[in-house]
Amino acid sequence: MKLKGWKEVTPGAVVTKAGSAEEFKTGSWRSFRPVWLEENCIQCMFCWIFCPDMAIEAKNGKRGVFKYDYCKGCGICALECPGKKGKKAIVMEEEGK
């Protein structure tokens, strides 16, 4: 991502767009990647509420895919996932493997 030069920045660095942080991708911070195994998912939505990075989509009250552009790979979702019959619906995998 290219940062703006001083000529492109608004006077006083005023932010004019609400929620503009979405233009900043934090996914590159990640060293572990959460992987969603839909067959073990019971749609409890715990991952969605606990995710510190708002990196889990929700559509019509159901869990969607991971937003890897933002996920920092903390692993809270995987730890809190109750899974189905003892099998987690989110597992952490090392990046680059």
Partner: protein
């Protein structure tokens, strides 16, 4: 006003007003707290933020993670700032220039609440502004590099009270800010934890319906400062509740009510063990520290239970 039922299915249909792309650390406990608070509100919210991790990381030059009107002015005056905005709102309402029902929330870390912002918070509570102050309590000045605050628990190792051979970490107890705020005679003061999200959101909803000054202290684990794993913010906040280190209760018009009683009170070491900041307390020569920490928690928990019981009777 239509209220969203407190189920995650229904809540997830609402827009989250804190966006992705903020620069809080991986696994931080504060964003889930803010997310839950904002989701719980059925009203438009104006927020003020004290200087701290949350403020710094959500509003880095050119980017803001907030989708609500949000003000930051200084470390010590989040409460005074939002009190001013609330006063202006009341005046505009009286003049007939605004008719919308708006709620005012201040966010501060424990540094901006327990220490630096304490006098402005106390003042705003005393003046009776219609506002909710939320303290996300991670127990030290984490933003500047883990310096002790008056919220730092007994025994913790921080950069300004390092655990060494002479002084084994912080030797003082943490301030009980929720009780101090309740002592202001405000209509509502409570403690909450993101692990018990339903309890947290219920309290926020309740607080926003009450007129006058409200205060909530919410635990927000910090894996950098607590020296724990990045994935255990929610787990640790749950352990804090289950060990009664951070009991969940509310004080409504002077009446104390414990909202979550752990099924089985766990020993405090369950909460201390996963955190590197308490590592030295497990050394044989520091055994007294574990004992004292447990005694302090037991004493506070018993006191709280007594207060809750007395409130039931009256």
């Amino acid at each position: 006003m239509a209220t969203t039922p407190l189920t995650l299915r229904e809540l997830s249909k609402k827009e989250v007003l804190l966006t992705a792309g903020h620069r809080m650390c991986s696994g931080c406990g504060a964003p889930p707290v803010v997310k839950m608070v904002l989701l719980a509100s059925e009203y438009p919210v104006v927020a003020a933020n004290a200087t701290g991790c949350l403020e710094v990381c959500t509003c880095i030059s050119e980017y803001t993670a907030w989708k609500i009107p949000w003000i930051h002015s200084a470390f010590e005056n989040a409460a005074a700032t939002i009190a001013g905005v609330e006063t202006m709102y009341r005046s505009l309402k009286k003049q007939g220039k605004i008719d919308k029902e708006i709620k005012f929330i201040a966010f501060g870390g424990d540094g901006g609440t327990y220490d630096i912002g304490f006098q402005s918070l106390s003042g705003a509570m005393e003046r009776g502004h219609d506002m909710l102050y939320i303290c996300y309590d991670n127990g030290a000045y984490m933003n500047t590099g883990i310096q002790r605050s008056s919220a730092t628990p007994f025994g913790a190792d921080t950069t300004t009270c390092p655990a060494g051979s002479v002084v084994p970490g912080k030797l003082q107890k943490r301030k009980d800010i929720t009780k101090i705020m309740a002592a202001h005679g405000i209509p509502y003061a409570a403690q909450a934890s993101p692990s018990h999200w339903q309890d947290l959101m219920k309290k926020v909803k309740k607080a926003l319906e009450i007129k006058g000054p409200k205060f909530m202290n919410i635990i927000a684990p910090c894996n950098r400062g607590w020296r724990s794993a990045t994935d255990d913010a929610i787990l640790l906040s749950r352990l804090a509740v289950e060990t009664c280190y951070f009991p969940l209760y509310e004080v409504e018009n002077g009446a104390t009510k414990i909202t979550v009683t752990p099924r089985e009170k766990k020993p405090l070491v369950d909460f201390l063990k996963p955190q590197g900041r308490f590592k030295h307390m497990f050394a044989p020569e520091n055994e007294w520290m574990l004992k004292q920490a447990q005694e302090d928690v037991d004493k506070e928990w018993e006191k709280l239970q007594r207060e809750a019981k007395a409130s039931e009777v009256s």
